[in-house]
């Protein structure tokens, strides 16, 4: 036990927990959105994330010609490099997520297969993607170039407001605000919510279920792609099984917050990020996973639907 670290590094840990947690939230959207409409866990989402990180590295190194050892960029060049990497990753992940839906879910659904069948086929897709990448990269980790110089806005109460940390905090918040508005206000958002409440009734109202489901995967892919970009920018490396740990964390965040629920994913991710940071600081990193799951079990014991499972039932997506 080491409480002195909390007194001296509290704000630093909180800030880093916030950044980590928000990356988790973005990936957990990929789980929670799909669960909202299909009532199924999209196990392939972790591999969508993994391919996103490789896309970012590929864009930076091969498409825009910044080898691993290249110097950080500045000005306009930095901005358009980051934007291209972000947009490229989001598009790649969205396309892949939609493909996953078509391959692993749609056909089985149209044939009236049992719901568990598509769960297994999603796991199959996930293993296929991970193993393909393992063979392609010979399981070697891939380093991303440091394009964003890690300069700091300054330090307040020990918390270092570094550019990459700030990026990992601000970008997800913007995405969440947009997504939340989209789901509550737009026509498609309303359709998604309708399907989530009752597929039968939505169908009777003339909503094209397949299209809604595809769009849900697409949105989940977009946010997962953004997360992959942020992850690669902050941690500057990836490996074929990077999705595994991230998938577990994001899924945990989704369940903690109340799966099937946008705001649940947001707060669940935040709670998880904070928990990990403080547990590893106070108890030691070996207790991080233990602490996270003890807290998860305790939360589910008292609130089986997760932190926000019922309170915002109406905003289910």
């Amino acid at each position: 036990m080491n409480f002195s670290v909390v007194t001296s590094q509290f704000w630093s840990l909180a800030l880093q927990g916030l950044a980590l947690g928000l990356i988790y939230s973005l990936v957990s959207l990929g789980y929670t959105m799909v669960y909202g409409v299909l009532r199924l866990i999209n196990f392939a989402n972790s591999e969508v994330f993994m391919l996103g990180t490789f896309t970012v590295v590929w864009i930076e190194i091969h498409f825009l010609n910044h080898p691993v050892a290249s110097e950080p960029l500045t000005g306009i060049e930095l901005i358009y490099t980051l934007v291209i990497a972000l947009v490229g990753s989001m598009i790649a992940c969205a396309v892949l997520a939609v493909l996953v839906e078509i391959v692993a879910y749609r056909r089985l659904r149209s044939r009236g297969a049992s719901r568990l069948a598509s769960l297994i086929s999603a796991i199959g897709v996930s293993i296929f993607l991970m193993e393909s990448m393992r063979m392609y990269t010979e399981s070697r980790p891939q380093t991303a170039p440091r394009l964003l110089e890690k300069w700091s806005f300054g330090e307040i109460a020990g918390a270092n407001f570094r550019i990459d940390t700030m990026l990992a905090i601000v970008a997800p918040i913007i995405i969440f605000v947009i997504l939340d508005r989209f789901v509550t206000k737009s026509r498609l958002g309303k359709a998604i919510r309708a399907v989530s409440m009752s597929e039968e009734n939505a169908k009777l109202m003339g909503i094209d279920i397949n299209r809604v489901i595809s769009m849900t995967f697409l949105i989940g892919g977009l946010t997962t792609g953004a997360a992959a970009f942020l992850y690669t920018t902050v941690y500057e490396n990836t490996v074929f099984n990077v999705g595994f740990n991230m998938g577990i964390a994001a899924f945990t965040a989704a369940v903690l917050g109340g799966i099937g629920n946008l705001r649940g994913a947001f707060y669940g991710g935040l709670a998880l990020g904070m928990l990990e940071q403080f547990a590893s600081a106070i108890l030691g990193s070996q207790w991080k996973a233990v602490t996270v799951f003890v807290v998860l079990v305790l939360v589910l014991l008292f609130k089986p639907s997760g932190l926000f499972g019922e309170a915002v039932q109406q905003t289910r997506t």
């Binding site: 080491n2 880093q16 050892a69 070697r140 490396n237 490996v239 990990e276 940071q277 990193s285 070996q286």
Partner: protein, 383 residues
């Protein structure tokens, strides 16, 4: 099962046996035999560089031996266990079941070694490891010791860890040491043996971080809050690169140090600028220091490697141990085991190798200190 199919199988099996006999017959007739040695270590995976640096040492030793046109030729096969105990446990039975294999040059990592023991012990297959350095592997009291099949031509971490602490704190007045391990057989063991000498100088904190962790910022915060000026990591390259980057990005300016698990040629690339000035150790002397110009040219010609990587020397020595026994006509697993246990061998640079009862070299070895400078790991001094 259909009777026809069964008899079909029987015919096929018989045919295979007969063909196999035919295939080996000419070799016997000519009086030329061939035996196989396996190199086991990480050849792919996150720690591939470790094995890729070592393999050429063994490869060169065997090519040199085969070039002398001996009575028994030696074939070298690769067994890739990715520095991962789980993978090793899966592939070791296959290596043990291959009757042609009479010895294993390996493993590179300690966790691999430990999980390979059951299969090799059952198969009576002798191992000579170039770099598996965890103390427990040869500790008579440890439940996971490799007796009687395990041997290693490298000084164990009982030697390396104190040297690492010495080298890490060299020139530091009032060292405040922070120790971090990666929970593997090797990493946790190294830090365990570094603890006592480090405590004498002043330890301000410890942590134990599982492999695969992406976010190291909380550990970096702790190091900062503890006011450490020397950080020693027990683990492998990939995690060290992430950890050291997080420390430098977090504003840590003190010394970074790690053991031979991080001393791989890909470390400077993975860690980028954070690798500069990192102090590393290894129970190894650079192979090129022991070779003549002609020998180095031959090494490059055979292996395609210009500068021998870390533990090329010990991999060469491990191969030499087996080759010496094969030269003496020891061609079965049991004969090899007896020979390795009882003989004295000559290693690179004229060093003498003899194993004690539990598989360690008698006499130990010097531990070298290595420094990262301008993106390259260079030999610095005896640590």
């Amino acid at each position: 099962m259909n009777k026809k199919i069964v008899s079909g199988f029987a015919i096929a099996a018989a045919a295979t046996l007969a063909l196999g006999a035919v295939a080996t017959a000419p070799a016997n007739a000519a009086g030329k035999k061939e035996v196989t040695l396996a190199f086991q270590g990480p050849l792919t995976g996150p720690d591939a560089q470790l094995g890729q640096d070592q393999f050429p040492g063994a490869q060169w030793a065997i090519e040199l031996y085969n070039a002398t046109n001996p009575k028994t030729k030696v074939k070298l096969i690769k067994a890739d266990s990715q520095c991962d105990g789980t993978v090793a446990a899966n592939i070791a039975p296959g290596v043990a079941a291959n009757k042609a294999v009479i010895g294993v040059i390996g493993t590179s990592c300690s966790g691999e070694a430990r999980n390979s023991f059951p299969a090799y012990r059952a198969g009576g297959l002798t191992m000579v490891a170039p770099s598996a350095s965890a103390v427990s592997l040869t500790d008579p009291k440890a439940p996971d010791r490799g007796f009687p099949i395990f041997h290693r031509v490298v000084a164990h971490d009982g030697f390396q860890a104190p040297a690492l602490v010495r080298y890490a704190t060299k020139g530091v007045t009032g060292p405040k040491i922070y120790l971090v391990d990666d929970q593997t057989t090797y990493g946790a063991g190294l830090i365990k043996y570094a603890m006592a000498p480090a405590k004498k100088l002043g330890v301000v904190g410890t942590d134990s971080v599982p492999r695969g962790t992406a976010d190291w910022t909380s550990v970096a915060s702790k190091v900062k809050s503890a006011g450490a000026n020397v950080v020693i990591y027990g683990g492998y390259t990939v995690e060290a690169a992430k950890f050291f980057k997080a420390l430098r990005d977090g504003g840590y300016t003190g010394i970074l140090a790690a053991g031979d698990g991080v001393n791989t040629s890909d470390f400077p690339e993975l860690a980028g600028k954070a690798a500069e000035g990192v102090r590393l150790t290894a129970a190894d002397v650079p192979f090129e220091n022991l070779l003549t110009k002609d020998e180095l040219a031959s090494f490059t010609k055979v292996t395609g490697v210009k500068v021998p990587g870390l533990y090329s020397t010990t991999a060469y020595n491990a191969a030499r141990v087996f080759l010496t026994c094969i030269e003496q006509g020891k061609l079965t697993r049991s004969a090899i085991q007896l020979c390795v246990n009882s003989s004295t061998f000559k290693g690179a640079g004229g060093s003498s190798i003899k194993f004690n009862r539990y598989g360690d070299i008698i006499g130990g070895a010097d531990v070298g200190g290595y420094l990262v400078k301008n993106g390259k790991i260079g030999y610095d001094a005896i640590a």
